[in-house]
């Protein structure tokens, strides 16, 4: 990992944090104990941390087509656990935890 670091802004909450080059933005957020992007499997599989990058450049690793289509990926949508910044980024949260039938029933 080189010493370059970028600022990530979560537009929904105004949260800002630093992400090192070579680190995915979800991991940087979690390491710095920040919140704003929902955390799921951290492996590109569950779709919970889906974001839209509104400005900045990044590289993306393979992520589940169940959650990010080819068109979405081309349009700047991705899973935060698979996005590696190469500039400062502004992101908007798209994903979230799905409802759990078990948890819903507990509230009744």
């Amino acid at each position: 990992m080189n010493s370059a670091a970028f600022e990530i802004v979560i537009e929904d909450t105004g949260e800002r944090f630093t992400c090192a080059a070579g680190e995915n933005i979800l991991k940087a957020m979690e390491r710095l104990q920040r919140k704003g992007i929902p955390v799921g499997c951290r492996g590109g599989g569950c779709g919970v941390c889906k974001v839209k990058v509104n400005s900045g450049a990044y590289t993306a690793r393979k992520m589940s087509r169940e959650h990010v289509s080819v068109d979405e990926e081309a349009g700047g949508v991705g899973l935060a656990c698979r996005l590696f910044p190469i500039s400062d980024l502004n992101v908007e949260v798209v994903g979230g935890l799905r409802k759990s039938v078990l948890a819903e029933r507990l509230r009744h």
């Binding site: 492996g43 590109g44 393979k62 039938v101 507990l106």
Partner: protein
């Protein structure tokens, strides 16, 4: 033993996004042994104490999740009988030729009411656990990582739990061992074809065909804690634990493979016999049913699936 002619869950086929990181995870961290590869790029693995050739098949794909779980049945006659009974129940069955999976005999494949694909097979090549069958040592040296003994069970998410329960108990002759209910509504069902308290389990969820976790057996609670150490040492994505389940009493830790498929390693559940009566957990006590120590529901554990 149970009345079922189904013996155990014998294999699970999981989709992974990238094979190499998946192999580091399952082979080096969980300690499964790589036993073969095939022309389709699939990699076959087994736990050290499993006797048959393989129990985990990894396949690279554009989305993670489970392709199918296969159950071994006692013999070819039982396979034919179960195929007939499945058809009578209304399932469409398909025969997958022998050696489509290397070392595996003909498989009967069908889709259950929650949309998951299940297979039955009667034959798989014998490999043994490397200790021999005459005056064996208790364990082999040189095991890696968590030293998982075997693929034990899986938990699947889907909508028609009642249909699944009917199929598994009436056709495949599994026992319902534990359940979570809210009044008349079944929220979770745990099913056994053996002396294990679960060979497969289901949780109610609006989408069909979702995969919650594949579980692997460890020997002791100390080994579960050691697995937790390895998870931090190698920066593996932790879900939760180590902790105790109320349901099944298992001592457990949950984590994710590099493609987001959830794994469990566990020890210390109890023995099921076919004359036992099922245990029921009520929805108002769900916290301690699932996580006996925290007694709180964890939204990620309940809703993150592939």
């Amino acid at each position: 033993m149970a009345q079922s002619s189904v013996i155990r869950p014998g294999h699970i086929s999981l989709r992974v996004l990238d094979m190499e990181p998946a192999l580091v995870h399952y082979r080096e961290r969980m300690g499964l042994q790589e036993v073969d590869r095939d022309a389709h790029g699939r990699v076959y693995l087994k736990g050290w104490d499993e006797q048959d050739w393989f129990s985990v098949v990894l396949r690279e794909a554009d989305r993670p999740g489970m392709d199918y779980v296969g159950f071994k049945v006692i013999n070819e006659a039982a396979l034919n009988t179960l195929e007939r009974d499945l058809r009578a129940f209304g399932c469409t069955t398909e025969r997958i030729p022998a050696d489509e999976l290397k070392h595996c005999g003909e498989r009967v494949r069908f889709t259950i009411p929650t949309g998951h694909v299940i297979e039955l097979y009667a034959r798989k090549d014998y490999m043994g656990n490397g200790l021999g069958r005459v005056n064996p040592d208790p364990w082999p040296e040189g095991l890696k990582g968590m030293q998982a003994q075997r693929f034990d069970h899986c938990l699947l998410y889907g909508d028609d739990l009642d249909g699944n329960l009917k199929l598994f108990t009436e056709v495949l002759k599994f026992d319902l061992t534990e359940q979570v209910v809210d009044g008349d509504l079944k929220l979770a069902t745990f099913l056994s074809c053996s002396n294990k308290v679960h060979d497969i389990a289901f949780i109610r969820h609006p989408e069909k065909g979702k995969f919650h976790h594949a579980s692997f057996l460890l020997g002791t609670w100390e080994e579960v804690l050691r697995a937790a150490d390895l998870i931090s040492m190698h920066d593996i994505s932790l879900d939760l634990g180590p902790t105790r389940h109320g349901i099944t009493r298992g001592r457990t830790i949950y984590f994710f493979d590099p493609s987001g498929n959830r794994n469990e390693v566990f020890c210390g559940d109890y023995t099921w016999y076919p004359d036992h009566q099922p245990i029921t957990w009520t929805a108002d006590q769900l916290g301690r049913a699932i996580f006996y120590h925290d007694r709180k529901l964890n939204q990620n554990f309940l809703s993150v699936v592939t």
